[in-house]
């Protein structure tokens, strides 16, 4: 169970930004609170620059909030480094490591958890098989299509057995048909893994298809949509 309470973060425009930009700081998160139960997916909608990605970065531990707390299963993880939180973040551009094969990308987290490389690779191949990608295990990730890369990124996140899955516009780089197909595929995988999930997107159809609850991020605060 994820519990976010009173999270605050401001955006400070740089002095050399164009004059059309407002010069005063702007709230990306202002007393923002959110709860996500295990097995639940919460969608956060918002315009570009509204602070969706920053919200995920704060949850992942990549950014420090100015105020507020992030708790998971009773642990206050607000000041924990990212590697200790065990929250998997899926990036818009997948962020697969280009110097590693598909299986080594998927096995990355297991090796960090102390698993032996051979064992981690076996688990990775098994996970890839669930996504229909076992035959691509030894391929360089750069040779995969966009949809395949997306599934590898999810397989990598799931194999790390995260306590929370964070999805940052996961389908924005894909074409419409593939996006629709992968939404269903992803939802099924996430549900079967039984983990809490926060999805940020600017696509309302995507948010409604995947999220049991939906919010809009405006002025640093969440407005319930459904």
């Amino acid at each position: 169970m994820l519990e976010v309470t009173g999270l605050c973060k401001r955006y400070w425009p740089a002095p050399d930004e164009p004059a059309s930009q407002p010069s005063a700081p702007r709230w990306l998160a202002h007393q923002l609170s959110l709860q996500v139960a295990a097995g639940e997916t919460v969608a956060v909608l918002g315009a570009s620059g509204s602070g969706k990605s920053t919200l995920l970065a704060m949850l992942a531990g990549l950014e420090a909030p100015e105020a507020g707390t992030v708790c998971v299963d009773g642990d206050d993880v607000t000041h924990w480094p990212p590697e200790r939180r065990r929250f998997a973040l899926m990036f818009q551009d997948f962020a697969l490591f280009p110097h590693l094969t598909v299986q080594d990308n998927v096995a990355f987290a297991r090796i960090e958890q102390g698993c032996r490389k051979a064992q981690a690779r076996q688990e990775a191949v098994a996970m890839l098989a669930r996504f229909g990608l076992a035959d691509r295990a030894l391929s360089p990730v750069t040779q995969l299509s966009g949809g395949e890369q997306q599934r590898v990124a999810l397989a990598r996140a799931l194999l790390s057995a995260p306590r929370l899955l964070l999805l940052d516009e996961p389908f924005s780089a894909l074409d419409a048909d593939l996006r629709q197909q992968l939404r269903l595929d992803f939802s099924a995988h996430i549900r079967s893994a039984g983990m809490a999930c926060v999805l940020v997107t600017h696509d309302e159809a995507e948010a409604r298809a995947m999220g049991q609850r939906g919010y809009r991020l405006v002025g640093g605060q969440l407005q319930a949509l459904w």
């Binding site: 973060k9 401001r10 955006y11 400070w12 740089a14 002095p15 050399d16 990306l28 602070g51 990605s53 920053t54 970065a57 992942a60 531990g61 990549l62 950014e63 420090a64 480094p81 990212p82 590697e83 939180r85 065990r86 929250f87 998997a88 973040l89 990036f91 551009d93 962020a95 490591f97 280009p98 110097h99 990355f108 987290a109 960090e112 958890q113 990598r156 996140a157 790390s160 964070l166």
Partner: protein
């Protein structure tokens, strides 16, 4: 900033302080303040000390300075006249061998200066192939030096032109054509305005290299057409007029610095993201298109390949003699010295370069992240960094535009410090070291340190460039997957950095192998390297010595070619950062 990056940075900064900043301060002091150490040496040599303005009243020294400026200016103009059309053809037409031609443009970046000089002599010297065939000797004429300058710098302008032309908006060009512009008018009204700044900044670099280079001027200019850099060497090594040399060096610093300032202004206007709709080259299918391709390749071949072929031809003209030269004890000793000095310099340069590259990356990264609190907010800056056409462009752009507080500006200054060895010519560096450390002028540590000084910025720049180009998401993803910062470095950053590191090391090795000016100033007689041995043979009369010089030049070229292949193996089909070739020593 954490302690780690500070510690990483301390080593290269101390190195720079001891080997560039302090010698320069000493040099300026010698030039400006009468009565310091060098003036005492002057009294040994006799003669009146020069004042700062006295250089311009002395006809001999005034000519040296004016000729340095003139030959650099003429060479710059020639590279523009020849280079721009060649760049246009390479950028706009696709043909068999185009990739090889683009790779060939890197050749002058790794060929030692003396090899190029020998190549020019092989074609246009007293017994040169072309001068013999045409009955036109360029000996004792300024044209020899200009041809040498063209060899090195044509490729730089062509490469800059190709890159810039690839960025011209295809849709704007198409719009111009549909609005009635002929190809020439479209070039003049759409392409030229888009490429003139990058081309102008490349020309600034060409001017700097021609102005501050020594090796070519020493071999090709002779006594009559020697430049200010050669004159500094002559004053120090042959006439012991250290004070006069200091004043002259001061003026070369001032003049070179002025051109660097112009370059900085241009660079500030150049850091723009790469266009997504750049013009793609089209097949050269029509006869006139094929003709221009052949002409462009012909120009490139005559200027940048023929001199190398010429020196190979000279060396192979007498194979038994070549073998005798290669196996002579002094050649083997010189080869050993070249290899060991280069290897030692490369080891030092790698450590320094990696430290600097990592430190400036961390230093530069932190203020942006902490200020805006969002990696994505620094995206624009990241794109600017990644897309900067020239490394210096980014630096000056950040230096001038950065108003996000002292840490960011300091980071840019720290990064800019890497380029000090490029801005200051090797002659000035070596002379400054001679003045500052007179008791260590023939010590191995100073020689290797000076080699490393000229080589390490290649490593630092390539590493920093690779780190700049690395999307932050990769490190972030690794952190969220459970990797600690050290593990992120070990498993993600380092493996992705290795190709750039190899490339930087290859350039550093090429620089060390071909180093000439520093060796002349700081070496002992028993530390003769291949470059100084070539120079010794050139200074002796007779055809045998000239052939020996060519034979040694071929040996040096083969070593350099090995480095070139190493580069190629690293997948470096791209040109090195533009500022990465310092003045040709």
């Amino acid at each position: 900033m954490s302690v780690g990056p500070r510690a990483l940075l301390a080593l290269p900064l101390l190195f720079l302080a001891g080997l560039v900043v302090a010698p320069l301060v000493r040099l300026v002091w010698e030039g400006l303040v009468p009565g310091s150490g060098a003036w005492a040496a002057l009294s040994l040599a006799g003669g009146e000390p020069l004042t700062l303005w006295g250089v311009w009243q002395d006809p001999h020294l005034r000519f040296r300075l004016l000729w340095s400026l003139a030959q650099a200016g003429i060479s710059t103009g020639l590279t523009l006249l020849l280079g721009l059309p060649v760049a246009w053809v390479l950028a706009r037409y696709r043909f068999a061998g185009r990739e090889w031609a683009l790779r060939l443009l890197m050749l002058p970046f790794v060929v030692p200066t003396l090899v190029a000089a020998l190549g020019v002599l092989a074609l246009w010297g007293p017994s040169g192939v072309w001068s013999g065939a045409l009955g036109l000797s360029l000996e004792d004429s300024p044209a020899l030096l200009l041809v040498g300058n063209l060899f090195f710098n044509l490729c730089l302008v062509v490469r800059a032109g190709v890159d810039a032309l690839a960025q011209v908006s295809a849709s704007r060009l198409a719009a111009a054509r549909t609005l009635g512009a002929t190809p020439w008018r479209a070039f003049w009204r759409v392409e030229w305005p888009a490429i003139r700044l990058p081309v102008a900044s490349a020309l600034c670099l060409v001017f700097l290299y021609c102005f501050a280079g020594m090796g070519l001027a020493l071999v090709l200019g002779g006594q009559r057409w020697a430049t200010a850099e050669v004159e500094i060497y002559t004053l120090v090594a042959h006439e012991l007029r250290l004070a006069d040399a200091s004043v002259l060096a001061l003026w070369t610093l001032v003049l070179g610095g002025s051109v660097t300032a112009v370059y900085a202004v241009l660079a500030n206007r150049l850091a723009h993201p790469r266009r997504a709709d750049g013009v793609l080259p089209r097949p050269a299918t029509r006869p006139h298109q094929r003709v221009v391709v052949v002409v462009a390749l012909g120009v490139l071949g005559m200027v940048s390949v023929a001199p190398l072929v010429g020196t190979v031809g000279w060396a192979l003209a007498d194979v038994p003699a070549l073998w005798r030269v290669w196996t002579a004890p002094d050649t083997l000793a010189a080869l050993w010295n070249t290899l060991r000095f280069s290897a030692m310099a490369l080891a030092v340069a790698t450590v320094l370069g990696v430290c600097q590259g990592l430190a400036v990356f961390h230093w530069n990264q932190r203020p942006e992240i902490s200020r805006n609190g969002d990696f994505s907010d620094s995206k624009d800056s990241f794109i600017k960094k990644r897309q900067s056409r020239f490394f210096l462009f980014f630096l000056f752009d950040k230096l001038i535009a950065s108003r996000s507080g002292p840490p960011a500006r300091l980071g840019v200054l720290v990064r800019a410090s890497t380029l000090l060895p490029f801005v200051v010519s090797p002659v000035v560096v070596a002379f400054g070291l001679l003045l500052l450390y007179p008791g260590h002028t023939a010590s191995l540590w100073l020689l290797v340190a000076a080699y490393a000084l000229l080589a390490y910025p290649f490593v630092g720049q390539h590493v920093a460039h690779a780190l700049d180009a690395m999307p932050p998401q990769w490190q972030q993803a690794a952190r969220t997957l459970g990797a600690s910062p050290w593990r992120v470095f070990w498993r993600v950053t380092l493996p992705l950095m290795v190709p750039a590191l190899r490339r930087g090391m290859a350039f550093a090795a090429a620089t060390a192998l071909g180093e000439f000016a520093v060796s002349l100033f700081l070496s002992r007689p028993e530390w003769t390297t291949l470059t100084t041995l070539i120079y010794q043979h050139l200074g002796r009369p007779g055809a045998d010595n000239l052939h020996a010089a060519h034979a040694l030049s071929l040996l040096l070229m083969l070593l350099a070619l090995g480095v070139f292949l190493l580069l190629d193996a690293a997948g470096a089909a791209t040109v090195p950062p533009r500022a990465s070739k310092g003045p040709h020593a």
